[in-house]
């Protein structure tokens, strides 16, 4: 059976449509999930998309983190379901404490929008299993609050236990500590990153197809598990 990948739409989500399309292009069955519902409709994995949920009021992701659907996302994430947070979704995962650390305003004090070179530092997640270790990729980065911060002990632990999944290459675009662009939880099923793989699935609109591997990875992982 084709794996069902849910994409949550919050008020203010922008990239939910692109994420659903990316899932479809890569062979998955995309399922639109609503922030106000407490059902995940039996999906096999969840994507929290980019955007400005709740207008980024209070802090990015701080209000969305308490949306009804998030109680289910958190419960399933803790049980091992693959969850990917992209940009605003990454911020929501940090606010929900499914991932450590937080995202703050870019040190350059401007919105950054560019094709970003990245290195894949962990392939032991359902979202990155189709990459080569250390592979260099190009994925769109576009955000105003993408600076990853955590205390030194947490940063040491993330690096020591291989929980850094992506690092920025060719210059740090936003002041993220230790060039961290994306991380995973200890178990590996929850991954968050600031760049947008869902925008790099079609050569018409991006310089690479590197985003496809995220979605192919999770589909492969779910097939293997099934």
């Amino acid at each position: 059976m084709t794996p069902r990948i849910g994409v949550v739409t919050f008020p203010g989500s922008l990239d939910d449509g692109d994420a659903l399309r990316a899932v479809r292009l890569c062979g998955g069955d995309p399922v639109s999930l609503w922030h106000g519902s407490d059902s995940l409709q039996g999906v096999n994995a969840v994507i929290l998309p980019g955007g400005f949920s709740y207008g980024d009021y209070l802090r990015c992701g701080a209000i969305s983190r308490f949306a009804p659907v998030m109680a289910e996302v958190i419960r399933h994430a803790k049980a091992g379901m693959p969850v990917l947070g992209i940009c605003n979704g990454f911020q929501i995962l940090c606010e929900a404490q499914l991932l450590p650390g937080a995202l703050i305003r870019n040190d350059v004090r401007t919105f950054v929008c560019k094709d970003q070179r990245l290195r894949v530092d962990s392939i032991t997640t359902p979202w990155t299993s189709q990459f080569e270790p250390g592979q260099q990729i190009t994925v769109v980065l576009k955000n105003g609050e993408g600076g990853f911060v955590a205390d030194e002990a947490t940063l040491d632990r993330l690096e020591g236990e291989g929980q850094v999944v992506f690092r920025y290459l060719e210059g740090n675009p936003n002041g993220s500590r230790r060039d961290i662009a994306g991380i995973r939880n200890q178990r590996g099923n929850v991954v968050g990153l600031m760049p947008h793989p869902e925008h790099n699935v079609d050569l018409l609109t991006g310089p690479s197809l590197d985003g496809r591997r995220f979605f192919m990875s999770v589909l492969d992982s779910l097939h293997v598990a099934a």
Binding site: L58, G101, I104
Partner: protein, 87 residues
Amino acid sequence: MARVVVEVMPKPEILDPQGKAVTGALGRLGFPGMSVRQGKCFELEIDGELSGERLDQVRRAAETLLANPVIETFRLRVESEHRAEAR
């Protein structure tokens, strides 16, 4: 009725780009030597008497939603007296 003010500040070790921007603007406007860190201030109007238990509730609200303890600290300030005088 009491008022509790929750003041939220970025932790000292956390970069504060907004504060830096304001610091820069002050310098350009002829207010040199003023280093700014920018936080947030929430005024909570509390129904009923402000018991110790109620204040604990406000503290939990602050650490659950108003502040992110990973990057921010917060302080509670009770303003009930001030409000009574103002009336």
